[in-house]
């Protein structure tokens, strides 16, 4: 068995937890693969990484499969847990991987405030437009007019533009790609992991089982084609009206800037006041 698996990224995974619980055709595997590649290309030691996730299919992308210290938390609260982890371990990379319903629905407030604080956490938000694990209910990201199990006729609400909101809220880095843009996704994950401050990579991902099936795209490939056909690079989108962008996926880097980072500011303050180093210091305990 072991001889057959030549997947290079397998060394980053908890083998005993495989195969994953993700459905066939799910975009979650692509995101996990992209994330492992980003870590590999940056030559990051997974021991210097803490992964935090919430509840839902996308929370399972890295947890329990990615082999790092992992906190699989309650619904919506992953970023708040990660805030405590990051302040306690400022020298580690803290990454939140979870879904749109988890991070932008029930947990939307934490997402906005973590971006405002500009705490050095990387959030990989997997947006599949649906609550998948619970059976395909409408999400705050579901496109206008789409069918879900709780909008069986059509969705009469408008989706949240997550990347735009978080760029506006004060994050250091925000990018959006789809699972049809794997190389760009890896590059953005690498940038997000390296930037000092809050970073968000929104990965639009296919859920053929709960979303596509009810919206005339039951094959994963149909969904990927839908992504490609409707993706608009941000440079082009800047010259388009809201109406023209309705139903489109704006992809690319929304923001990449330097702003004072939360844990650094915390430690600066402590140093000013005490002349010592901050929390997370080995001598602190």
């Amino acid at each position: 068995m072991a001889e057959k698996t030549k997947y290079k990224m397998a060394r980053y995974l908890r083998k005993e937890a495989l195969p994953t619980a993700l459905c066939p055709g799910c975009g979650g595997g692509t995101v996990l693969n992209a994330f492992a590649n980003a870590i590999d290309q940056l030559k990051l030691d997974p021991r210097d990484l803490v992964v935090v996730s919430g509840i839902g299919c996308s929370a399972w992308i890295a947890s329990p499969y990615f082999l790092a210290d992992t906190l699989h938390t309650t619904h919506g609260r992953a970023i708040a847990f990660a805030t405590g982890v990051k302040v306690g371990l400022p020298d580690k990379k803290v990454v939140v991987i979870s879904g749109d319903g988890d991070l932008a629905g029930i947990g939307g407030n934490h997402l906005i405030h973590a971006a405002r604080r500009n705490i050095d956490i990387t959030v990989i938000l997997v947006n599949n437009f649906i609550y998948g694990m619970t059976g395909g209910q409408v999400a705050p990201t579901t496109p206008f007019g789409a069918r879900t199990t709780t909008t069986p006729y059509r969705n009469i609400e408008h989706p949240l533009n997550i990347a735009e909101v978080i760029a506006e809220a004060g994050a250091s880095y925000v990018a959006r790609w789809t699972t049809a843009h794997v190389y760009q996704l890896i590059e953005s994950m690498k940038k997000a992991l390296q930037v000092k401050g809050f970073s968000l990579v929104e990965a639009i991902s296919q859920c053929p089982v709960q979303f596509g099936r009810r919206n005339k795209m039951k094959e994963p490939a149909e969904m990927l084609r839908w992504f490609l056909k409707n993706s608009i690079p941000i440079s082009k989108a800047k010259n388009m009206s809201r109406e023209e962008l309705e139903g489109k996926f704006v992809i690319g880097e929304f923001v990449n800037r330097q702003r004072p980072e939360f844990t650094e500011e915390l430690n600066k303050l402590i140093e000013e006041l005490t002349g010592q180093s901050g929390p997370g210091d080995e001598n602190a305990d």
Partner: protein, 387 residues
């Protein structure tokens, strides 16, 4: 370490302030909070002191986030605390269960105000007792401490951290607006005279593989905190000894939850703390906790002056609960009175403990004021007459 407040001497301070100072002396290095009356003074004191002692105090966007952040910080290795009152405490219930399930040492202070809902924000109550014990869903146990004075608020805060670390569990310091806002003289010991407990860490890589395994036979697994290279996996799902999700195996679930409950239940003797006054020859007993116990002591003296042989059992820990001790008291008296600033909460536990050996009467009071000793005396005498 230099402390930003006097140590090794007494000071005249508020209960909330005493809790903050005690937390720092207990080794708390991470505080996350959200403003709420009557607990805000704890937060403000932490914000003032923490950066001066190499610690962190941060304001989160709500109480859901506050408790989440302290759980995260605890896994990062910190002793961590949050403080709130009823409305915020209600918001914390889900993550309190997460802390229980993941065996994360944290201290949560609930400075009780009168509810339900927004209620009487500035006035005291004891309406959160059952919530503190049973508020989070599912089978569980935890530890709930109930200070009656500012000195006890100080001492029990230190004890709360020690118990949290020792038993790898959340501990709730259940106080109220009276104790929180009252100013009293408090003896603050020298830091070197304070006994501090630290969580058991894995001795080696092998031990770290079992973050939820009873590998020492004491029901308390060593905690492989993050950042040490252990690649620990922590989840609120039912998990095996290695932390791996096992959600449909009844035996694994039973083993895990029973161990989490038993590590508290089987250590009752170590955890439970109480005081007795004039109980030896008493005909009637008063069982009380928190601020009301102070009126109850006075009431015992007044009753004795009036010829009623009364005694007091003052509970400093309301969970775990010593049902057997209550039964022993019930065997020696004919009636037990439970004055509470609610419509009957701990009363039900006392009644269960008494096991029919003595009559158990509730003396309820709501609206924000503490029972006066006279009110307790009157209630006892009225009942004693009707027998």
């Amino acid at each position: 370490m230099k402390y930003p407040f006097p140590v090794g001497k007494s000071d005249f301070i508020q209960g909330d302030e005493a809790i903050a100072r005690a937390a720092i002396l207990a080794g708390c290095s991470f505080y996350a909070g959200y403003p709420i009356t009557p607990a805000s003074e704890i937060f403000e004191a932490m914000a003032l002191y923490m950066p001066l002692v190499d610690g962190v105090s941060i304001q989160m966007e709500d109480e859901l986030a506050s408790i989440a952040a302290i759980i995260g910080a605890s896994w990062a290795g910190a002793k961590a605390m949050t403080a709130t009152s009823g409305p915020g405490f209600s918001l914390m219930m889900e993550n309190l269960g997460y802390a229980i399930m993941t065996e994360t040492p944290i201290v949560v202070v609930d400075v009780q105000r009168s509810g339900p809902s927004t209620g009487q924000p500035t006035l005291a109550a004891q309406g959160d007792v059952m919530q503190a014990i049973w508020g989070t869903h599912g089978d569980h146990s935890l530890i709930v401490l109930t200070p009656a004075t500012v000195q006890e608020a100080f001492d029990m805060t230190i004890r709360a951290f020690n118990l949290a670390e020792k038993y790898r569990t959340p501990v709730i310091l259940l106080t109220d607006a009276e104790v929180g806002h009252m100013r009293e003289r408090v003896n603050i010991p020298n830091p070197e005279d304070i006994e501090l407990v630290y969580r058991k860490l894995p001795a080696n890589e092998e031990e770290a593989k079992y973050p939820f395994g009873d590998i020492h036979g004491d029901l308390i697994p060593p905690m492989p905190i993050f950042g040490k290279g252990y690649r620990t996996y922590v989840t609120g799902l039912t998990h095996d000894e290695r932390g791996r999700p096992r959600t449909v195996d009844a035996e694994i679930h039973r083993k895990l939850v029973e161990r989490i409950v038993n590590k508290i239940e089987r250590n009752k003797e170590d955890i439970i703390d109480f005081e007795i006054f004039e109980l030896d020859d008493a005909d009637v007993a008063i069982v009380s906790y928190g601020i009301v116990a102070r009126s109850a002591i006075r009431a015992v003296k007044m009753l004795r002056n009036e010829g009623v042989k009364a005694g007091l059992l003052k509970l400093n820990v309301v969970w775990p609960f010593d049902f057997e001790m209550i039964e022993k008291v019930a065997e020696r008296v004919h009636a037990i009175y439970v004055p509470e600033m609610n419509l009957g909460q701990l009363y039900h536990l006392v009644k269960e403990g008494a096991n029919g050996k003595a009559r158990v009467e509730l003396i309820p009071k709501i609206g924000g004021e503490v029972h006066t000793p006279q009110e307790i005396v009157k209630a006892v005498k009225r009942c004693e007459k009707c027998i």
